[in-house]
């Protein structure tokens, strides 16, 4: 929460009319860089379509998938995209529940990121299956063969968990946008006004609607948090419930959840810088918000690194020769360049976020966020590939460097995600107008309260930590205030 003027997240004197105008203008008139990004994303996506068509016609051998490498980068990418989706829940749901005001200008695009990264992730199990036309076999329906999916398998849990998470996060995004749709309905013209009018569902902002909206949004936030945790725990169970070396790790669920939040926060940093530039959002996506986001990312990086260390330590001090040899092979074998890239990007690079000057420097943070994501992608790759390459049977050992088909599909998934995201932020407001208005109101009230306290001589910055006056050392902070000269009647 913002506590003092120097800590404010945006200018509280922003006129509400201006907020509406700025956000609507951003949707109509982005910089040229926006259109260049759209073109790049379309090209990337096109590469993936070509690669998928080729793989579909020629078979999975074109992707190099065979025993023992039946998953490889497709599954690593699946885990990566699922992980990305967690940042939206963190910014939207968790920070909403704890009333962190600074999330308000940026949570909307984080929520969109959640939905679109889940949509992207959903492709990879289909792509790696090979026989896409049999995809419906994973659905729990009564078939004429009397065969059901195995509900004891984490792979089956995945289908339930991800579809639940996708629908819940999409609904969370849609519900949260209703008041803004009403703003757009009232202040745009032509076909846009008609479309937004339908999406506003007849919202007029009366007290009954706001009360129900507040409760609904809070309830959904409360459900999304355990859901997000369960989704990535279940994804981690895909690995940890097997007996393969490198996968059978007790700490995998929290490790995966921390990794998900970490990569998601890094993605938020990247998109923050992009949107701020594309849509000239400097008044809303401020340096203070960026700084808070990077601090949060730095904290999560700490948690993730701790869990990484725990994983290594438990392998090192455990008695499984397979696990230990696999760890050594990761660090010194064929996969060593990828392994050390992961360590550099995910463990060393985050320390740049410890310096305030760097935290407030957008180009630096943009590059840092890309490094963090590279680190988290290689981390997922280092979970999937080495275990498949060097499992229990040495006669099966085989190193796979993904062929161009896999790379093209993985590369194209970033284009697909980027395209969805860029279209979204052009058609819908990437900044929540009503929440930014609430934020300015909240800041004004807070500063007014502070001013009143200052005039009354009661204001004490950081009162709990401020050094006490001589003779006050034994008193509690509130008693120190009341007992100050001139405050006898307070």
């Amino acid at each position: 929460m913002s506590n003092s003027p120097h800590d404010k997240v945006l200018d509280e004197n922003l006129k509400w009319t201006q907020i509406n105008e700025d956000v609507i203008r951003s949707m109509q008139n982005p910089r040229k860089a926006y259109w260049i990004s759209v073109a790049v994303c379309v090209s990337m996506f096109f590469c993936a379509i070509l690669a998928e068509i080729y793989q579909y016609r020629m078979g999975m051998g074109t992707a190099g998938l065979n025993n023992p490498h039946m998953w490889d980068m497709y599954l690593a990418t699946f885990v990566f995209w699922i992980g990305m989706s967690h940042a939206g829940t963190l910014l939207s749901a968790i920070l909403h529940i704890i009333h962190a005001q600074w999330r308000k200008p940026i949570y909307r695009f984080a929520e969109a990121m959640t939905t679109f990264s889940l949509l992207t992730a959903g492709f990879f199990p289909m792509i790696h299956l090979g026989r896409i036309w049999n995809l419906y076999w994973v659905l729990p329906y009564v078939s004429d063969r009397g065969v059901w999916p195995n509900f004891r398998s984490p792979l089956s849990w995945d289908a339930f968990a991800i579809s639940t998470y996708l629908s819940a996060s999409a609904l969370f995004l849609v519900i949260g946008m209703i008041p803004d749709m009403a703003v757009l309905r009232d202040h745009t013209k032509g076909w846009r006004a008609k479309v937004y009018g339908v999406l506003a569902l007849g919202w007029r902002g009366d007290d009954r609607q706001w009360r129900n909206f507040r409760k609904t949004y809070m309830l959904m936030a409360c459900f999304l948090i355990p859901l997000a945790v369960s989704v990535h725990s279940i994804v981690s169970s895909d690995f940890s419930m097997s007996i393969n070396p490198g996968w059978h790790v007790t700490t995998f669920p929290p490790y995966f959840v921390a990794g998900a939040l970490y990569s998601g926060c890094a993605a938020i940093m990247t998109l923050f810088v992009c949107l701020r530039y594309f849509f000239r959002m400097e008044d809303y996506m401020t340096l203070n918000i960026m700084e808070k986001t990077t601090k949060l990312t730095f904290a999560i990086a700490g948690v993730w690194n701790y869990l990484l260390f725990v994983e290594f330590a438990s392998v090192w001090y455990g008695h499984s020769v397979y696990d230990k040899e696999l760890l050594i092979a990761k660090a010194t074998g064929d996969y060593a360049p990828v392994f050390w890239t992961m360590i550099f990007c995910s463990t060393v690079v985050p320390f740049t976020m410890a310096f305030q000057k760097l935290r407030r420097h957008m180009p630096t943070m943009f590059i840092v966020s890309l490094f963090l994501q590279l680190g988290m992608y290689t981390e997922r790759w280092m979970i999937v590939a080495p275990t498949l390459a060097m499992s229990h049977n040495p006669h099966q050992w085989d190193i796979l460097w993904a062929p161009v088909v896999q790379w093209a599909i993985v590369f194209g998934s970033f284009g697909w995600f980027g395209l969805l995201f860029l279209v979204f932020v052009k058609v819908f407001p990437s900044v929540s107008m009503y929440e930014v208005k609430e934020l300015t109101l909240h800041q004004k009230e807070e500063f007014e309260e502070e001013r009143r306290m200052r005039e009354a001589g009661m204001f004490m910055p950081e009162s709990a930590t401020a050094p006490p006056l001589p003779g006050d050392e034994h008193k509690r902070p509130e008693d120190r205030v009341a007992g100050r000269p001139g405050m006898e009647g307070a």
Partner: protein
Amino acid sequence: MASKHKMLALYDDFEECFKAIKAIRGGAVKGVTVDDLTVLSPVDHHGIDEALGPRPVNVQRFTLLGALFGVTFGFFFLASAQASFLVQPQGGKPVVPLPTNFVLMYEMLIFFAVWTTVLVFPVLSGLFKKRDSLYSEKLTVDHMGVIVEEVDGHNLDAMKDFFKNNKAVEIREEKI
């Protein structure tokens, strides 16, 4: 019989709006109570609830129902599917294994709770209704509005005077 009117008073100062609502709540206008008022706002302002007093919200009851349905449905859905495995050898394993089923029951609890919440939200909020002719686009910018749902014809001038005296920037009315 006197005609009935609906009235909207627009405010650009929220504090003045809250003062007016509190005055009506205190009986400032004869024949109009706080239950006749609807407050429109561009943001979810905490002052509205303070001014209007407690009003019920029932979304959470439906959410609970949805959650209970979800967990129950989850159990019976999985158990009935697993029961079809009875014809297959289970190797001593339970036909309906509770620990693993808990995971999917948990997912279904959330799934149905969220969907129920979302489906009842428009109903309980009175969405999908056509906006009345009194509605002003200023209400999605920076103005707050107070709607008096029903004012008797002989009380109309008193109501207008009250809003004028309480610094409303615009007053609209229509016959109902």
